[in-house]
Amino acid sequence: MTGGRIWALHLAVLVALLAAGLLLPGYHSTNLARILVLATFALGYNLAFGYTGLLSLGHAMFFAAGMYGAGLPAWHWGWEAGPALLTGAAAGGLLALLAGSLALRTAGVSFMIVTLMFAQAFALSLLYFSDWTGGDDGFAVPTTARLVFGHALSADVPRFLAAWGVFALGLVIALALVCSRFGRVMVALRENEERARMLGINPYRAKLQVLVISGIYSGVAGAAYALLFGYVGSSFASIQYSILPMLYVLLGGAGTVLGGVIGAAGIFYLTEWATALTSAWLFLVGLALVVLVLFLPKGVLGWVRAKLWRNLP
């Protein structure tokens, strides 16, 4: 697959998503907006895990940092959506820099545990400083902060368009990144860190750069979630939100740019379907995932890449 065809495919997917969001009824349009925000989170997670091999259990912290980074200034000081989104992105990137500069001195399982430890400490801090963060109850983002060019983000169409815009920008940047020389470095680090080092690559610095980029993606996703759906809560800092992007990526295909959105949509509708059937919905979700792992161990696009498009990024 040439570079032109790769870009054409990804842009076609973006156009198809835009058309679906505008043509579908309000309920599904809102679902799609939520999926695209979570897919942006997955894009960031995939850069770290799928491309660079950094298996993190701390991404809930970056997502929640973005959520609180956007929500708190809006709640306390009446900030508008634009600056709040930027603050959220910066919060995700800054925490990734701080946590990563320590966690990346470890590798493998140790890295996973250290990132989990950071995320748990962050989640507990949100509860400890409840006077300021809203504690366990969280808080609603003021409607005055949920305006873009005079359009309320609580309405279906503006909300979907904002979610699509965030995802589209994230997808284009991610694709450009993985197709660049830095993208090759990421894959080299995943495949054989010692070999990459012997070609003059500083693994610590390169992995920290990736983690910060991944943190910014997560922060943007968290901020967008807060602004589009109007709620900020400490549950988004729980381990569940570190595992979810991992599931999205594994289902969609680790190390594929479009894998995150396929995984996010798959898990979202799988959960919807299972909760409608039974209160033991987690059992059904788990069962479906076991089946997927058995038959598509590399995820949907991992299978496509192995069988059809070997160069699919």
């Binding site: 894959v187 080299a188 012997m198 070609l199 003059g200 690559i201």
Partner: protein, 231 residues
């Protein structure tokens, strides 16, 4: 010129290299031979900074390189092609070469020179590295190292597991490199290959260089091969 003086190195409580003195000159091929466990690969890893020396000094053209972080060693002019090739399998030939050229700023003339040395790779530029044959993978591993424009090239058993025609190709490319002034340090177990390529042969045993012999003075039946390699 690469020079090692009194290098001691090892892992944990085990000291593998027991005071290695060794010199590799520009435009020469220096072969290192020895039985399994003699310390050959540890020696290469120590030169590349992956194993920290406990004593001694490594210099390249007079500048001390021992003690540098491993990722800074290639920038000083050393390239290591490890045993087993260790390519980035999912990346194409061109992308593997691209990573090799990161330090050198991707000079087109360097890539061109490398592809002239290994024309077969030019035909495979867009092929995934993992799908190449064993000989082609070895060529790519060497080519990727050469993209660093090294003054010293360390090759760890480059002919291992290859068919005779591929061994001949690798041998010819090593001799061409030598002619360009690169110092080649070659870990090799095949006596025939050593005699065809080497200018000097270092025989290792129990973590030290026990004999340093000019290759022209060696025959296939030389006692050093029986004593230090067991052939």
């Amino acid at each position: 010129m690469l020079e090692l003086k009194g290098i001691r190195a090892g892992y944990g409580a085990v000291t593998v290299l027991q005071g290695v003195d060794f010199t590799a000159k520009s435009g020469e091929v220096t072969c290192i031979m020895g039985r399994n466990g003699a310390g050959k690969t540890t020696l290469l890893k120590t030169i590349m900074g992956l194993v920290a020396p406990r004593a001694g000094e490594i210099t390249l053209e007079g500048a001390v390189i021992s003690g540098l972080p491993a990722h800074q060693v290639p920038g000083r002019g050393l390239a290591w092609v490890p045993q087993g090739r260790r390519l980035f399998g999912p990346l194409t030939v061109a992308e593997n070469l691209e990573i090799g050229g990161l330090l050198g700023g991707h000079k087109p003339q360097v890539k061109e020179r490398v592809l002239e040395l290994f024309p077969r790779l030019r035909e495979r530029l867009n092929q995934q590295a993992s799908t190449l044959s064993g000989g082609e993978q070895q060529m790519l591993a060497i080519a990727r190292g050469l993209c660093l424009e090294p003054k010293v090239l360390l090759l760890d058993e480059p002919t291992e597991g290859l068919q005779p025609s591929m061994i001949a190709l690798i041998r010819d490319s090593v001799l061409q490199l030598k002619a360009t002034g690169v110092a080649v340090v070659l870990v090799e177990q095949r006596v025939e290959a050593v005699l065809q390529m080497a200018d000097q042969v270092a025989f290792m045993a129990q973590g030290a260089i026990r004999a340093m012999v000019v290759a022209q003075q060696l025959s296939p039946n030389a006692p050093e091969f029986a004593e230090f390699v067991g052939v």
